[in-house]
Amino acid sequence: MNSLSLSPTLVSKKLNYLIRDALVIAEENGHANTPQKGLLTEDTSVASRVLEAVSKSTLSPQVLQVSEEPNTVPTPVKKPSKTKPQIDVKAELEKRQGGKQLLNLVVIGHVDAGKSTLMGHLLYLLGNVNKRTMHKYEQESKKAGKASFAYAWVLDETGEERERGVTMDVGMTKFETKTKVITLMDAPGHKDFIPNMITGAAQADVAILVVDASRGEFEAGFETGGQTREHGLLVRSLGVTQLAVAVNKMDQVNWQQERFQEITSKLGQFLKQAGFKESDVAYIPTSGLGGENLVTRCQSSDLTQWYKGKCLLEQIDSFKPPQRSVDKAFRLCVADVFKDQGSGFCVTGKIEAGYIQVGERLLAMPPNETCTAKGISLHDEPVDWAAAGDHVSLTLTGMDIIKINVGCVFCDPKEPIKVCTRFRARVLIFNIEVPITKGFPVLLHYQTVSEPATIRRLLSVLHKSTGEVTKKKPKFLTKGQNALIELQTQRPVALELYKDFKELGRFMLRYSGSTIAAGVVTEIKE
C-alpha cells in the first residue's frame, strides 16, 4: 500500500479497484493513509478527479462512514495548479487558530454614550487610522462645530451620520490584539435604529456595553425608555454570553470610585437578571474622548489608586472565542448585497456554520437558486476558504442580483435550510406595555431579516424554569411570561430549528418601536 503515495498513476489504478470493492480498500486505507498526508502534493489532479467519482459512488448507506476516509487520503494541503482544490479546511483552520483567533465584537449602548468615539479612539491608538486622516477629521469636525465627534467619524462615514453626530447603521472594521483578530461592529444607539443594531448583534460573539458615567446620563440610558436595558437584553437573547461594560466618560466625574461602584452595582443586578453570568461580565472605567484606559492602563493617579484591573484592549484580548459549528452544513446570512468591480456581485455576512471554499456551488434560500462562489474575502483580503465565525464577503456568479435581498441565507445545496411562512416558537415576553393577543402584528427580526409577521395562535403558557405547560390556549400574554406561539410571516423566510442550529434558531419580535419578545424556533410548519 505504500506505493500509493509514490506514484499518482498507481493511485488512480488503486482507486479504480476501490470502486469495485470500496469497503476492503477503505479498511486498508484506514491504516495506510495517515502517514502519507502531505506527500501527495504534486499532480494529484487525476487522482482527485477520480476520487470525486469514487466518493460519490461509494456514498451508499452502508459505507457512509468509511467512504469519508478515502476522501481525505489525497487531499492536498497545497494548491495544485489546474483543478479546483479540495482543501482540508479543518486542518487549515487549526493552523490558523494557531495564529490569531477571530472574534466578532459588537459595541452597544444608549445613544450618545460614546460608542463610536470610544472605538474610534481605540482604533486610532492602535494605529489602524493614520495620523493624517485623523488630523483631517479633527479639522473638519471642528469646522462643523463638532470637535468632540472627530473620533466617531472614524466609524461614522456617511455624510448624514457625521452631520447629525449619530451612528445610523452598523460600522464595521477590524483590528488586532495580542492573540486575536477582532471584527468590530459599532452599533447605533438611537432607538429608531435598533433594527440595524440587531443585525449587527446577531453576527457577534461578544459585546462591549458602553454606558455614560456622567450624572443623569447613565440614569437616562438605564431607566425605561433608555436603550441600555433593551440592548443588554437583545444581545443576551441573540446568544452573546460574554460582556465587557465600558463605564465611559469617567473623566467627567473625576474618576470617582463611588460613581463607578454605583453604576456597576446597578448594572450588575440587571445583567444578572438578563442572564449573564457574573464571571462573564467585566467592568472597565474608560474615557473615550481622552483615550484613557483603552489600549494601555491608565496612568492618572485618580484612577490607579483604586482601579488595578485591565484596560479595554486587554479585556477584549481575554474574551474566550466561542465554539464554532464548523462540522455542520454551510450557512451564511446575507447582511449586505452590493455590486463590485468585475463580474457578479458581492454579499457579506457571517458564516454561521460549516465552511466554504472558492469555486463551490451554493444554494440561496428563499429564492431557491444556485450560484457559484467565485471569490471569498476576509477583512478585504482574498482567501481560498473560510469557516464558521468568519465575517466574509463572497463574490458570486451565476445568479441575478435582484433575487438576493438582505436576509437571504446561503447554504449547502445538499443540506438546504428550511423555508417556511408558518412556524412555532417558544418565546420569552419582555417588559411590554400592551398584552399580546393573537392577531398581533409584529416585526420578526431573524438574523439580518426583518419581516412583518402576525401571531397566529397562542398555544400555551409555560412554566419559567421547568418548561411545563401551565395554561393552554391563553387569552393573552403579559410581561415575563414564557409561552409557545405560532407565527405567520408575510413572505417565506429561511429558518432553522433551535435544536439543530443554535445560532440560527433565535429571533426577536418587535412592535411599534420596542422589543416585545425573544424566542427560539421549535417547529417549522410549512
Binding site: D336, V434, P435, K475, F476, T478, G513
Partner: protein
C-alpha cells in the same frame, strides 16, 4: 354616495336606489350586497343578432338589467365591483335566467332590493351618504429601502405603491454606493407620490418613518421640486406632515395615525378613531383582563350579562354569506345598542381592522368584570376558530 329613494316595508323588506360617486362608494356597496339580493343597474351586454338572411352579428348594447345576486367580487386596488347573477326581469335582449355580470359604474344609479334590511346595512348607507366623512389623507410610510404609499379614506386604506430598493450598507471607506442607492430610492418614492396622490382631493400627506429618513426624504423631494420646477409639489408643500413611525411596513401606519399632531389636523377620520378604540381594548386587557373579551362566544356571553360597553366588530363578519351566521352578528350589534353600549364597526381595509380581523373579528370592552368561561367551554370555542 347619494341616496335617491328608500322604500322599506314594515317587515324591513324593500329597496333603495343609490348613486355611487367615489371609488370608496364601491366599497360601501360591496358591504351592502349579499347573495340572494336583487340588483338593478345599467350595464353593457354583448347581444347576438341574427338578420333575416341568417348572418350573425354581435352588438354591444347598453341596457338595464335586474339580477339575482350570486357572486360578488371587489377589487380593492381599482375599487371596482363586479356582481354576477341571473336575470330575473326579461327584456328584449336578455332572457330570463340568463347569466350576466354587472360592473357597477360611478355616477350611474342602481337599485338594490333585499328581503331583509337590518340595522347594520342601514347604518352603512347613512354613513356612506354623509359628506362629512370625506376626508382624504395620503400617507407615505417609509424606512431606508422600503416605502408604502397609501391612501387613507374613512373606510379604506389602499396601498397605492410599494417601493422596495436594496440599499447597500455603508462599508469601510466606501459610502458612495449607499448614497447613490438611497437617492435612487427617494426618487422612486417621489415618482410614486406624484403618480398616485391626487392633490386636489388629498388634504394632507403624512410622511412617517423612523429616524431621519422622513426629514431627509422631504428635503430631497423639495430640492428636486425646486430644481425641476415642479409646481405640483411646491404648491402642496404645506400639506406634507412629518410624523414618527417605528418602521416602513404597512402596519406602522397605525402609529402615524394616532400621533397627536395628526389627529388634531384631521378632526374626524374614522381610521384614527378605530386605532384608538383598539388601543383602549388592549389597555383594558392589560389592566383588567376580565373586562376585555374577544372571540364571538366570549363576547356573546358578556353580552348576555349586559356587560358590553364598547363593541369592536369587523365589517368582514357582515359579509358572511351564510344568513344565519350573519344574523347572529347583527343580533349581537343590535342587542349591544339596546343596552346602551357603543358599537364600532371596523373597516377590514384599515390596518386596525386587519388586526381586529386576526383577533377573531370581534372584541369588547366591558363595563364590569365578568369571570372567564370555564376551560371546557373554552376548548369548544377555540376549536371553532
Amino acid at each position: 354616495m347619494k341616496l335617491v329613494r328608500k322604500d322599506l316595508e314594515k317587515d324591513n323588506a324593500g329597496q333603495v336606489t343609490l348613486i355611487p360617486e367615489e371609488p370608496e362608494d364601491m366599497w360601501h356597496t360591496y358591504n351592502l350586497l349579499q347573495v340572494g339580493d336583487s340588483l338593478r343597474a345599467s350595464t353593457i351586454r354583448k347581444v347576438q343578432t341574427e338578420s333575416a338572411t341568417g348572418s350573425v352579428g354581435s352588438n354591444r348594447i347598453r341596457t338595464t338589467l335586474t339580477l339575482c345576486v350570486e357572486a360578488i367580487d371587489f377589487d380593492s386596488q381599482a375599487c371596482q365591483l363586479r356582481v354576477k347573477g341571473t336575470n330575473i326581469q326579461e327584456n328584449e335582449y336578455v332572457k330570463m335566467g340568463a347569466y350576466h355580470t354587472i360592473e357597477l359604474e360611478p355616477n350611474r344609479q342602481f337599485t338594490l332590493a333585499k328581503k331583509q334590511w337590518d340595522s347594520v346595512v342601514l347604518e352603512r348607507i347613512e354613513q356612506a351618504c354623509d359628506p362629512a366623512w370625506n376626508a382624504d389623507v395620503a400617507a407615505v410610510v417609509m424606512q431606508e429601502g422600503l416605502a408604502h404609499v397609501c391612501l387613507v379614506t374613512p373606510s379604506m386604506t389602499l396601498t397605492r405603491a410599494k417601493v422596495e430598493v436594496n440599499i447597500p450598507r455603508k462599508r469601510k471607506g466606501n459610502c458612495s454606493q449607499h448614497d447613490r442607492a438611497l437617492e435612487r430610492f427617494y426618487e422612486q418614492v417621489v415618482q410614486a407620490i406624484q403618480r398616485h396622490i391626487n392633490f386636489e382631493v388629498v388634504k394632507c400627506v403624512l410622511v412617517a418613518s423612523p429616524g431621519f429618513v422622513r426629514e431627509q426624504f422631504c428635503d430631497y423631494m423639495f430640492q428636486q421640486a425646486v430644481k425641476t420646477d415642479n409646481k405640483l409639489l411646491l404648491e402642496n408643500r404645506s400639506k406634507f406632515l412629518q410624523v414618527h413611525s417605528s418602521s416602513g411596513h404597512k402596519y406602522a401606519l397605525k402609529e402615524a395615525l394616532c400621533d397627536p399632531a395628526v389627529t388634531s389636523r384631521l378632526s374626524d377620520t374614522k381610521a384614527a378613531g378605530e386605532v384608538k378604540a383598539l388601543d383602549d381594548f388592549y389597555k383594558m386587557l392589560q389592566h383588567e383582563p376580565d373586562r376585555a373579551f374577544y372571540g364571538l362566544k366570549h363576547v356573546e356571553k358578556a353580552n348576555e350579562a349586559m356587560a358590553i360597553d364598547t363593541l369592536l366588530i369587523s365589517d368582514e363578519l357582515f359579509r358572511h354569506q351564510d344568513v344565519a351566521t350573519r344574523a347572529r352578528y347583527v343580533k349581537l350589534v343590535d342587542s349591544v345598542r339596546e343596552n346602551m353600549g357603543t358599537v364600532r364597526i371596523f373597516s377590514s381595509l384599515h390596518v386596525s381592522g386587519e388586526q381586529l380581523g386576526q383577533l377573531t373579528g370581534v372584541a369588547a370592552i366591558l363595563r364590569f368584570p365578568v369571570a372567564e368561561l370555564s376551560d371546557q367551554e373554552d376548548e369548544s370555542s377555540s376549536e371553532e376558530d
